[in-house]
């Protein structure tokens, strides 16, 4: 059983789809304390002693196993910085589910800054899923500033899915990656901001090795008075492929700044960026209205599909 109250459980379900302890290895952190931890034969979770955080060591060749490391904050006024390091052994193939949910009913800001470092061994494959969620009607802000560093060895593959759909007031995310020959990084980011939220997402990806590749795609919706900045930079130092895409819908008085950056330092680097920002197309709403939806239902369908 997990040592969590009702709100904690609801948040856990939102960020990690968990209703009970998950299969495999896990570390569940609640209000700066451990609410449950389990290592498996192939995946060892070791708490750090110098700073707050854990080390996750995945043995070479580990296949079809998962690690869940969700974080729940339900107390107002908590500020924490957590350093989690993942060492993924050669040839391993694993799923890592992170995610943080804050419920802040109080008047003081609550903040969780998770700094994740991934050391991905030769030929290893990692699927990383990270969901952010906020709830609570207190005046205190819900703040998440994640930092993610990825170091990929030869022939490794990392797929990251980062989702922040609701309730987080302030986010400043920095993701950096360095890729060795043949390594592949795929990022799918989905973001929706509303109210007066701000979200900044910055990527710096260095394609150092021959035939390395990166594909970073962000889909986002900015509603009400919210503001987003998407700043994606790919540096090609070798024969490589890089692609960034920012596709955004603005509504109400929302604002979005897209700053695509490409730097080619090798004649065989092939880098592409695409960015599109605009409101929902009127003919899309009209089509759904001819199918019987009213205007707001049509908008909802379009946004849900867009952020799927």
């Amino acid at each position: 059983m997990l040592n969590l109250d009702e709100t904690g459980r609801r948040i856990l379900a939102e960020v990690a789809d968990l209703h009970e302890v998950p299969e495999g290895a896990y570390n569940i952190r609640s209000n700066s304390e451990s609410a449950g931890r389990r290592s498996t034969e192939n995946i060892e979770i070791i708490p750090k002693t110098d700073v707050s955080g854990i080390e996750v060591r995945i043995k070479p060749g580990t296949r079809n196993e998962s690690v869940h490391i969700p974080v729940v904050l339900t107390k107002t006024g908590l500020h924490e910085v957590v350093f989690n390091d993942f060492y993924v052994g050669e040839g391993a193939d694993v799923l890592i589910v992170a995610g943080c949910g804050i419920d802040n009913c109080g008047n003081q800001d609550s903040e969780h800054d998770g700094i994740h470092r991934f050391f991905v061994g030769r030929g290893a494959r990692v699927r990383y899923v990270e969901k952010h969620y906020g709830s609570g009607d207190g005046k205190g802000k819900r703040i998440l500033n994640p930092g993610t560093e990825v170091y990929q060895e030869e022939g490794s593959a990392v797929e990251m899915e980062m989702v922040q759909i609701k309730g987080v007031d302030d986010t400043d995310r920095l993701t950096t990656a360095v890729l060795a020959p043949g390594a592949k990084l795929t990022v799918r980011e989905r973001l929706m901001t509303h109210g007066s939220q701000t979200a900044v997402s910055t990527y710096v990806v260095k394609l150092e090795g021959e035939d390395s590749s990166a594909d970073i795609v962000s889909r986002s919706v900015a509603r009400d008075d919210s503001y987003q900045k998407f700043d994606a930079k790919i540096v090609g130092d070798a024969r490589c492929h890089g692609h960034t895409e920012c596709d955004s819908i603005i509504m109400d008085r929302g604002r979005i700044l897209a700053v695509p950056g490409l730097e080619a330092n090798n004649v065989d680097a092939a880098l592409v960026h695409e960015a599109a920002i605009g409101k929902i197309a009127g003919d899309q709403i009209m089509k759904l209205m001819t199918l019987g939806l009213d205007e707001s239902e049509a908008e909802e369908q379009i946004i849900n599909g867009f952020l799927r």
Binding site: R219, Q284, M286, K287, M289, T290, L291, G292, Q301, G305
Partner: protein, 251 residues
């Protein structure tokens, strides 16, 4: 079932106000397939959009099943039983074919039921059901999906705005069957097809000829068709130009 009373529509362009539909009076009964034809720019599509509520008339009234729907929104008209197939289907990022068919049917129908609507328009259902309705689909595929959404509505009045434009010969042949089936499944339903394809006109019960925004002829097929053969209002799909076929390169 549908009555248009003195319906007019004007739009302003660079050269000033232009009357696109002028004083149209039409009465369509239930259980009919009605083809609206006429030269390009004659106001056919605008008339269809006025019925669906996408455009609002400058003057005149529209009655559907005895109710004045002139002031009703697109949504309200849809909910009362009017379905509309766009000439240019709309693309969506993220919404897939199954989503669209479910929205159209108004209920969470099973995947296999949704597939039936795709099969009806000649698409191999399992290849398409999970596809996004986006630019990865060809114009012809989008058009067939558009028609499938209208079939899924099961509406009393289904309006097709140039359904043959941009589709290949096979689906063109199939269209006739689609109309027949639709009439068979929805009781007392009427279908209005905007088209100048001779073969579609030949299957209609009634033909309306719209020119310069006004109705110049409305009558039973056999009475009207003879006057149209050989004009741009009744184009033979196989001998007409590609432009007349809506761009389809066939035959």
């Amino acid at each position: 079932m549908l009555e248009l009373k003195n319906l007019s529509f004007s739009a302003t362009d660079g050269s000033g106000e232009k009357e696109i539909v002028r004083g149209v009076n039409l009465n369509f009964e239930k259980n009919k397939l009605i083809a609206i034809t006429g030269p390009n720019g004659g106001g056919k599509s605008t008339l269809a959009r006025l019925i669906a509520g996408i455009e609002k008339p400058t003057s005149g009234r529209i009655f559907f099943l005895g109710e004045d729907i002139t002031d009703l929104s697109v949504t309200e008209r849809a909910r009362r039983g009017i379905a509309f197939a766009f000439q240019q289907p709309v693309r969506f990022k993220g919404i897939n074919v199954l989503d669209l068919i479910r929205i159209a049917s108004g209920k969470k129908i099973s995947v296999s039921d949704a597939c039936l609507y795709l099969s009806a328009v000649g698409l191999c259902a399992r290849d398409y059901i999970g596809r996004e309705v986006n630019a990865s689909l060809s114009g012809g595929e989008l058009k067939r999906i558009e028609i499938a959404t209208v079939i899924a509505r099961g509406a009393r009045l289904s309006i097709f705005d140039e359904p043959e434009a941009g589709i290949d010969l096979w689906s063109f042949n199939n269209l006739i069957e689609v109309f027949e089936n639709l009439r068979g499944t929805v009781k007392d339903s009427t279908i209005v097809v905007i088209s100048h394809q001779e073969r579609i006109l030949k299957t209609a019960d009634e033909i309306v000829v719209l020119s310069g925004g006004a109705v110049v002829r409305h009558g039973k097929r056999d009475d009207v068709l003879g006057e149209l053969i050989g004009t741009s209002s009744a184009v033979n799909y196989c001998t007409g130009t590609a432009e007349e076929r809506g761009g389809a390169e066939v035959c």
